[in-house]
C-alpha cells in the first residue's frame, strides 16, 4: 500500500488529487460518476457574497489543446452555497475547499468570516485573479502589495487554512507567492488561467462575448509546471499545482516540480473520471517505481538543481 496522504499546512488530504475550482461546480453534476469520497478534495466554484450573473455568451471556445472560458464567475452567492450546496457536500468524506471571489478587499474578508464557522469547510481558496474595482479592474493578483493585503484581510477573518490562488499573468509569480506567504497564507495554488482571446475571422469579431477569456487545458501545462517550479523554490509553504493535467504522468510533473497536491480542471470536461484516474495512476506509478509514499516524490526533480 502506497501512502497517498499529503499535508497542505494544517490540512491533511487523503490523497493529493483535487478538482479545480469552476470545473466541477459544487460537485453535484459529476457525483454519480466520480466518487468524491475517493478524492483528496473538491475546490468548489468561485463563490461571492451575493449572486453574480456572469458574462454574455459565447462563454467558451476551444483552442489548440486548450479552451478559453469567460464565465464571469457566475455563481449563486454565499447564502445559497451555505444553505443548499454545503449541507449536500457534507455527506462526502473529502476536503471541501471553498473558492472565494470578490471585487473588494472587504468582501473577501466578509466571505472568510462567514465561512469560518461553517461546518464542512476544510479550507478557503482565495481567487485573487478577480478584477479589483477600486483599481480600475486590474486583478488583485497582479501586484504583490494588493495580493498581500487581500491575503492579510482573509487571514485575519478566519481560522481556516487559507490557500491563495495565483494568476499566471504576471512578470514574477515567485514575488507574488512570497507576498502572500508573508501575509499569512497557509498554501498557494497555481495556476489560474492565462488571459487569451480568439477572433472569429468570418464573423470579424472576438469569439467570446467577453472578448477575452482564460486559457486552460493541456496547452498551458508547460507554463504551469514552470511556475510551480519557481514558486516552490521561492516559498516554504505548500503549493497546489494545476493547469492542463489530464493523466497521472502530467500530475507527477507538478509533484516532482515541488507541488504537494494537484487539481484537475478542464480535463474533467472530456473525461469525467479524470480526477479518479489521475489518483489511481499516480498510485500505480509510485508502486512501479518503488516508492512507498507520495510525499517522497514532492520536489524530486529539483534534487541537485534548486
Amino acid at each position: 500500500m502506497i501512502d497517498l496522504t499529503v499535508d497542505i499546512g494544517r490540512l491533511r488530504l487523503k490523497n493529493p488529487v483535487l478538482t479545480a475550482s469552476g470545473t466541477c461546480g459544487y460537485g453535484r453534476e459529476y457525483a454519480h460518476i466520480l466518487d468524491l469520497n475517493q478524492l483528496g478534495g473538491i475546490m468548489v466554484k468561485g463563490t461571492s457574497l451575493v449572486p453574480w450573473a456572469g458574462n454574455p455568451a459565447p462563454r467558451v471556445v476551444e483552442t489548440p489543446a486548450g479552451m478559453l472560458n469567460a464565465i464571469g464567475l457566475q455563481n449563486p452567492g454565499l447564502d445559497y452555497f451555505l444553505h443548499t450546496e454545503l449541507p449536500w457536500l457534507r455527506q462526502f468524506d473529502t476536503a471541501v475547499v471553498v473558492n472565494i471571489a470578490a471585487h473588494q478587499i472587504e468582501e473577501y474578508a466578509e466571505l472568510a468570516r462567514r465561512l469560518d464557522n461553517a461546518a464542512g469547510v476544510a479550507a478557503l481558496e482565495v481567487n485573487i485573479s478577480c478584477p479589483n474595482v477600486r483599481q480600475g479592474g486590474l486583478s488583485f493578483g497582479s501586484d504583490p502589495l494588493t495580493a498581500h493585503r487581500v491575503t492579510a484581510a482573509v487571514r485575519q477573518a478566519t481560522s481556516l487554512p487559507v490557500i491563495v490562488k495565483l494568476t499566471p499573468n504576471v512578470t514574477d509569480i515567485a514575488a507574488l507567492a512570497r507576498a502572500v506567504a508573508e501575509a499569512g497564507a497557509d498554501a498557494v495554488s497555481l495556476i489560474n488561467t492565462l488571459l487569451g482571446m480568439v477572433i472569429d475571422v468570418r464573423a470579424r469579431r472576438p469569439a467570446l462575448g467577453n472578448i477575452v477569456g482564460g486559457l486552460s487545458g493541456p496547452a498551458i501545462r508547460p507554463v504551469a509546471v514552470r511556475m510551480v517550479w519557481e514558486v516552490a523554490g521561492a516559498v516554504s509553504i505548500p503549493v497546489i499545482g494545476m493547469g492542463g493535467i489530464t493523466c497521472a504522468e502530467d500530475a507527477l510533473q507538478f509533484l516532482m516540480a515541488g507541488a504537494s497536491a494537484v487539481a484537475i480542471g478542464t480535463a474533467t470536461f472530456a473525461n469525467p473520471r479524470a480526477p479518479f484516474e489521475v489518483m489511481k495512476g499516480m498510485a500505480a506509478f509510485l508502486q512501479e517505481e518503488g516508492f512507498t509514499a507520495v510525499s517522497d516524490i514532492i520536489g524530486l526533480a529539483r534534487r541537485g538543481i534548486a
Binding site: 469552476g22 470545473t23 466541477c24 461546480g25 453534476e29 459529476y30 454519480h32 460518476i33 466554484k45 450573473a53 456572469g54 458574462n55 454574455p56 455568451a57 459565447p58 462563454r59 467558451v60 471556445v61 476551444e62 489543446a65 486548450g66 479552451m67 472560458n69 464565465i71 457566475q74 487545458g217 493541456p218 489530464t246 478542464t266 474533467t268 470536461f269 472530456a270 469525467p272 473520471r273
Partner: protein, 257 residues
Amino acid sequence: MTWQQCQAVISRRSELPHGHILLGLKAPPVAARARPGQFLHVRCGGDGWPLLRRPFSLAGILPAEGEVELLVRRVGKGTAWLASQPVGQVLDVLGPLGNGFPRPWQKQKQGDLLGVAGGVGVAPLVPALLEAARTGWDVGLLLGAQDAPGLLLVERLRASGIDVSTCTEDGSYGRQGLVTELLAERLPGASLVFACGPPGMLRVVREMTTAVECYFSLEERMACGVGACLGCACQSGDGYHLVCRDGPVFSAREVQL
C-alpha cells in the same frame, strides 16, 4: 435518472447529401432512457484531440434495438472525425443529456404538432415528431434548406405519416423561399410548435407564434455538457440559463436569441 458515460458502438452509417451522415449507435443505457430533444456529448478523435466533446441531438431513439441515431453535419475537425468512423468503432459518449421537449401527447389524446426546421436542425425534432405521431397526434413538419439535397430525412418522416412541407432557397425542390413563409400558412392549425434552426429563423418563428405554445431547441458552445462549467449560457429574462442542463429545449418566450 441521470446521464451515463458509456461506450457506444457505431452499428450503421449512411452518407447523406452535402456531407451529412446518419450514424446508428448501439448504446442500450442511453436508448433506454432518452427522451426526444435530448443530446449526446461525444468524444471525437483519439488521445485527447480535439480536447472537448461535441454535442449532437438524438435524431433517433430506438429503445427496443438499444440504439440511438445521430445526424451529423461536417463543419470542422470533430465532426469530420466522427463522420469518417467506420461501423464497429467504439465511441465514448455522455448521455442522454438535457431536458428534452415537453410531451403533452402523453396526456392529451389529440393535438396538432408542427415542427419547423432549417437544415440539420431537423435532427432533434425527428424523435419528437415520430413519438407524437405514434400516439395519434396530427404532426406536420416544415423543413427548409439551401437546396433539394439539403432536405434531410424527408422520406423517413413521410413514411411515418408526418405531413412534410418543404422549401428551398434556390427553389430546386418544394416551394422557393424560407421556411417561415410556409409557417405563416400552416400555423393556424397548430396547437404546439417545435423549432430548431439558425437564430435568425428562430427569431421570426417566435414573432409568429405569440398565440401558440412554442419550443426551441438551442445550440451554444459547450465544454462539460452537464451543467458543471456554466459555459453554455443563454440569456433569458432573469439572468442566464444553461443550454446543456436547463435546455437545449426552451419555451420560445423564456430565452433571448
